[in-house]
C-alpha cells in the first residue's frame, strides 16, 4: 500500500525523502507567494495624486462663506479667484463652527483660516486646526465671478470631497463607500466626480435644487455607486456646482458628460 515506509514525526528528524521533497516544494510555494505579492502590489488600484499636508500648517486669507458649505474665497497671485473648502478634522464638516461667524443678511466677512491643505487637480481644501482656526478681519476680495453652464447630465460617482481630494487615496469606489457615507453624514460636501472625454478628472459640488445642501438621507443611497446626475451647473470663482434635479442609477447607461 505505502510505496515508501518513511514516516514523519514532528519531534524526530525528518526522513530524507520528505526533506528533499520539501526542500523543493517550499521554495516553490514561497516563490509563487512572492510572484503573487508582486502582481497584487503592482496591479492594485493606484491611489490618486491628491496630497494631504498634515502637520504643515498654513493660513489662507479672503472672504468667509458659510453656504452652501463653509469655504473661503481667496484671490490668487494672478488676480483670479479660487474657493478653498473648509472642513474639520476627521469626518466632520465645519458648519457648526463657521455658520455663526457669517451674518445671514448678506454682509460680507473677511477672515483668515489656519489649517492643513488637502489638494488635488488644482482644487484646494483646508482642514482647520482645532484651536481658534478662524480670525475675522482682513481685506475682502473682488466680487464673485459666476458663470452659468445650464442643464447638464453627468455620469459619474458621488464621493465626499475631503477623502477624494487627498485624505484617503483612493477616496472613491466601493471599498471606500462607507467612509464616504460617514463623511457626507458628518457634513463634508458631496461631489460628483467623472472623467472628461480628454481623460482628466472633473469634479462638481452637489447641492439641492435651491442651492442649499441636500439632506443626508436624500443623497445616501447614491454614494459611491455609478450614477447619472441631472441638474443646473454653474461655476463660481472656478469651482463647479450642480443643483441637482434628478439622480438615477447609471447601470448600463453611458452618456457623454458635458461640464466644466
Amino acid at each position: 500500500m505505502s510505496a515508501s515506509n518513511e514516516f514523519y514525526v514532528g519531534y524526530l528528524p525528518t526522513p530524507a525523502r520528505q526533506r528533499h521533497f520539501l526542500s523543493v516544494f517550499l521554495p516553490v510555494c514561497a516563490f509563487l507567494a512572492f510572484v503573487l505579492a508582486a502582481l497584487a502590489g503592482a496591479f492594485s488600484r493606484p491611489t490618486g495624486d491628491g496630497v494631504w499636508e498634515t502637520g504643515h500648517e498654513v493660513t489662507v486669507e479672503g472672504e468667509l462663506l458659510a453656504t452652501p458649505f463653509p469655504m473661503m474665497r481667496v484671490a490668487r497671485a494672478d488676480g483670479t479667484m479660487e474657493r478653498v473648502l473648509l472642513v474639520e478634522m476627521g469626518k466632520h464638516g465645519a458648519d457648526a463652527r463657521i455658520a455663526p461667524l457669517v451674518p445671514t443678511d448678506g454682509t460680507r466677512v473677511a477672515a483668515r483660516a489656519r489649517g492643513f491643505l488637502i489638494a488635488r487637480g488644482g482644487q484646494r481644501m483646508l482642514e482647520l486646526v482645532e484651536e481658534d482656526p478662524v480670525t475675522l478681519g482682513g481685506t475682502l476680495p473682488a466680487r464673485v465671478d459666476a458663470r452659468s453652464i445650464g442643464t447638464v447630465e453627468i455620469a459619474g460617482e458621488i464621493v465626499d470631497s475631503k477623502c477624494w481630494l487627498g485624505v484617503m487615496k483612493p477616496g472613491d469606489g466601493k471599498a471606500h463607500r462607507d467612509c464616504a457615507t460617514l463623511c457626507i453624514r458628518g457634513g463634508i460636501p458631496p461631489s460628483i466626480i467623472c472623467e472628461a472625454p480628454d481623460g482628466t478628472e472633473r469634479r462638481a459640488i452637489v447641492v439641492g435644487r435651491d442651492g442649499a445642501p441636500l439632506s443626508f438621507d436624500s443623497i445616501a443611497p447614491w454614494i459611491a455607486a455609478p450614477v447619472v446626475v441631472r441638474g443646473n451647473a454653474e461655476v463660481l470663482d472656478g469651482m463647479a456646482f450642480v443643483r441637482v434635479e434628478e439622480i438615477a442609477r447609471a447601470d448600463a447607461l453611458v452618456r457623454s458628460s458635458e461640464r466644466e
Binding site: 505505502s2 520528505q18 520539501l22 492594485s44 495624486d49 471599498a175 462607507d178 467612509c179 447601470d251
Partner: protein, 355 residues
Amino acid sequence: MSVSYRAVQWNPAKKAYDRRLAFAIAGYLAVFFIAAATAFETSPLILAMRAFGTGAIALLVFILSIGPLARFSPRVAPLLYNRRHLGVAMFLMALAHAVLATLWYHGFGVLDPVTSILTSGSPFEGVAQIPFQPLGLAALLILFAMAATSHDFWLRNLSPRVWKALHLGVYVAFTLLVAHVALGVLQDAVWPGFAWILAAATTWIVGIHVAAGVKEWRADRRSRMLTADGWVRVGEVNDVVAETAEGRAKAVLIDECRKVAVFRENDAFSAISGVCAHQGGPLGEGKIVDGCVTCPWHGYQYLASNGQSPPPFFEKIPTYELRIEGRTLYVHPQAKPPGTPLPPCRMELKDGGEA
C-alpha cells in the same frame, strides 16, 4: 502530547517551521510594498491594508491545501505537523487588515465604527450596495475563535469532537472571505487578473477537497465487507501482509463512519481505533515508531496492544478484537472500551515463514 500545558511546546522542527513562515510573510509584505511603490504613488496605510489582506488570503489558501494534499502524498505530511501556527499567523494578518480598514474607513466619524460597518448598504439594491464589510467581520470572528482555541488546552476542554467542528468553521470563513473580496475590492479593481486569481484559488480549494474526498470514499468502499456472523473481513492474511509494510496499518471501515487501523508488527496484528485522540488524525496512516503507533499528524503515540499512550501520557483509544479463520483476517466491529488490552493476533508461519 498532553502531560502539562505550556504556551507552546517548542522543538527544533517547530522552530524551523516558524522561521520559514516568518520569512515567507515578511517577504510577501516587502515584495508587495516594493512592487506597489514602483508602480504608482503610494499611501503607506492603504498599501499595508492591501498587503495584509491579500497575504492573509494567500496563506489561507495554502493552509486549506495542506490537508487534501497530504491525502495524496505523505511527503506533504511535515506541513501538517505545525499547521496551527500557520493559522494563527494568518489570523494576525487578517486582524491587521481589519483594524487598519476599520480605523481608516469607519473611524473618526459621527457613528461608531461598528455601527458604521453593520449598517452599511442594503443587499437589495444592486451589487454596488451589497455590504461586504460585515462578511469580512464575520470571517474574522470565526478565525479569531479558531486561533484563540488552537491550543491543545482547548482541544481537551472542548472535547476533540466539538473542537474539530469548531475548526471546520474555517470553510465558512473561507466562503465569507471569497464573497468579501468579490463584493468588495473586486468591484473597484482595475486589473481583471484579480478576479481570475480569486476564481482559480477557489476552484483549486474546492477541487482538491472533492478529489481527496472521492479518494477516501473509494478506499472505504473497497475495504468494507461484512461477514454473516458480524465480523468484518480485513483481507487475506497474505494480501494484508503484502499491502502493509512492517509497522504499518491497513485502515478498515467497520461501519458508516468508524475506521479501524490494523497494524502489522512482525508476525502479529493488532487493531486500534483509526482516529487519533488528539485531533482525529488518521491513525491508519500512522506507523509504529519505537514500539508505539505514531499519529501522522502531530506524533501522538499509542501502544498497539492496548490503545494507551505510553506513560507519562494518558490518552486512550478503543481497541478491537482480531481473528484469523482459515487464511482470512477479521476484525470485530464492537469497540472495546478505550485502553482495553488485547492479545495480538498471530499468524501461523506455516508456508516456509512467509505467512
